[in-house]
Symmetry: C2
DNA sequence: TAATAAATGTTATATTATAACATCACACAA
DNA sequence: TTGTGTGATGTTATAATATAACATTTATTA
C-alpha cells in the first residue's frame, strides 16, 4: 500500500485548470448523488469559486464574487454553502488562514496534511498514512477517539525559497 | 531518545494547580530573562489568566478578566500580550478554536500535537518526534521549508467517552 | 537628564461568523 | 392539482475575533 499520497500538489505547474475544475465538479456531483445530497446551483457555484485557483479562498471573497452574480447575497449564503461542502468533504477549511480549499478526492477517506507557503499562499494537500497511524497510536494511549484531524504546516515552498536567493 | 512526550496532560488529575501555575510562571520568567525579553506585569497577568485552568482560553474571556483589574482594558491589550507570549513560546494558539493554552516547556524545541476533546474542551499537548520526522521527510520531497507546525486532533477524551455510556 | 525605544492606552474599525425569522422551491401524498 | 411538509435560500441584525492608527507612559541608555 502506498504510504504517502499527494491529494493536491503545490501550484500545479502549467495545467489546464478548466479541466481540473470540471473534474472536481464532476466528482462533487457524483459524490452528492451517491450520498443523496443536493448539489444545488448555489452550492455548485460556491464550489466553483473555491476552485478558481489553487490557493485558499476567504469566505468574504467568495461573497464578493457571488454578489457579481446576484447583488443581494449575504454572509449566511456563503457560510451555509461552505458548511455543506465541508460536510461532504468537498472543501477543507484551513483553520490557520480562515480560508477554504477544494478537495478533489471527497470519496477517498483521508487525513489531510497541508503545506502552506507563507509567501505565495499556495497550498499542497498530502495524505500520509504513517502520520495518520502514528496519531492514532498516540491517541490510543489516552483512550482518545479521533473524529477530525487538522494538520497545517506553514513555511516556504521551493519556488519562493529559490526566488528569495 | 524518547520518541513521544506528553508536554501537558489531559485534565491533569487532582493536581495542585497553584504549584503548576507557579512553575509555569517561573519557567516563563527564566525564559524571558534568558532571551532578554521583558515579562512585564501585564504580560505576566495575561499568562496567569491563560493558565487559570487546563482548557483553551479565549482572548475576550481574558479581556473580561483583565477588566476586573482595570476597567479600561481594550482588545489590543490582550492581543499584544498574547502575541508576545506566543513569540516566546509561552502560549500556543489553538487555531481551530481561536483559543490559547499555556505551554510549560517554552525552552524545549518541540512540535506540538494537540488532542482536543469536543465535549469537555480539555486539551493535551504531545510532542512525538516520529511525527515531526515524518512531516519533515514529506516536506523535503517538495523542497518545502517548515517554519511552523499546527496539529490539532479533535475527538472525545476517555473520560467523556466513559460518561457517554 | 535628555533622547530613544519599548510598552501600553485609547478610539475606531476591519474581519470572520452566526442567530433568527421570512420566503421560496421542490417532492410527494391526498 | 393542490395542499403540506421539508430543505434551501433570502434578509436583517448582530456576535465574535482581530487589527490599525495614533497618543501617552514607562524603561533604557547615551
Amino acid at each position: 500500500m502506498q504510504k504517502s499520497k499527494v491529494l493536491s500538489p503545490f501550484k500545479p505547474a502549467r495545467h489546464k485548470h478548466q479541466e481540473c475544475l470540471q473534474s472536481a465538479l464532476k466528482a462533487a456531483k457524483q459524490h452528492c448523488d451517491n450520498s443523496g445530497q443536493r448539489l444545488t446551483p448555489l452550492r455548485k457555484r460556491v464550489l466553483e469559486l473555491v476552485w478558481e485557483n489553487h490557493e485558499p479562498v476567504k469566505a468574504y471573497d467568495i461573497l464578493d464574487k457571488l454578489k457579481q452574480d446576484k447583488s443581494s447575497s449575504a454572509p449566511p449564503t456563503v457560510y451555509r454553502a461552505l458548511d455543506f461542502l465541508q460536510e461532504q468533504g468537498l472543501v477543507h477549511k484551513i483553520e490557520s488562514l480562515n480560508a477554504y480549499v477544494g478537495c478533489g478526492k471527497p470519496d477517498e477517506i483521508h487525513s489531510s496534511q497541508f503545506l502552506i507557503c507563507y509567501k505565495c499562499g499556495s497550498v499542497a494537500e498530502l495524505d500520509n498514512s504513517e502520520i495518520r497511524k502514528l496519531l492514532q497510536i498516540n491517541a490510543d494511549k489516552f483512550g482518545f477517539r479521533i473524529d477530525e484531524e487538522m494538520i497545517e504546516i506553514k513555511g516556504h515552498c521551493q519556488e519562493c525559497l529559490d526566488e528569495g536567493k
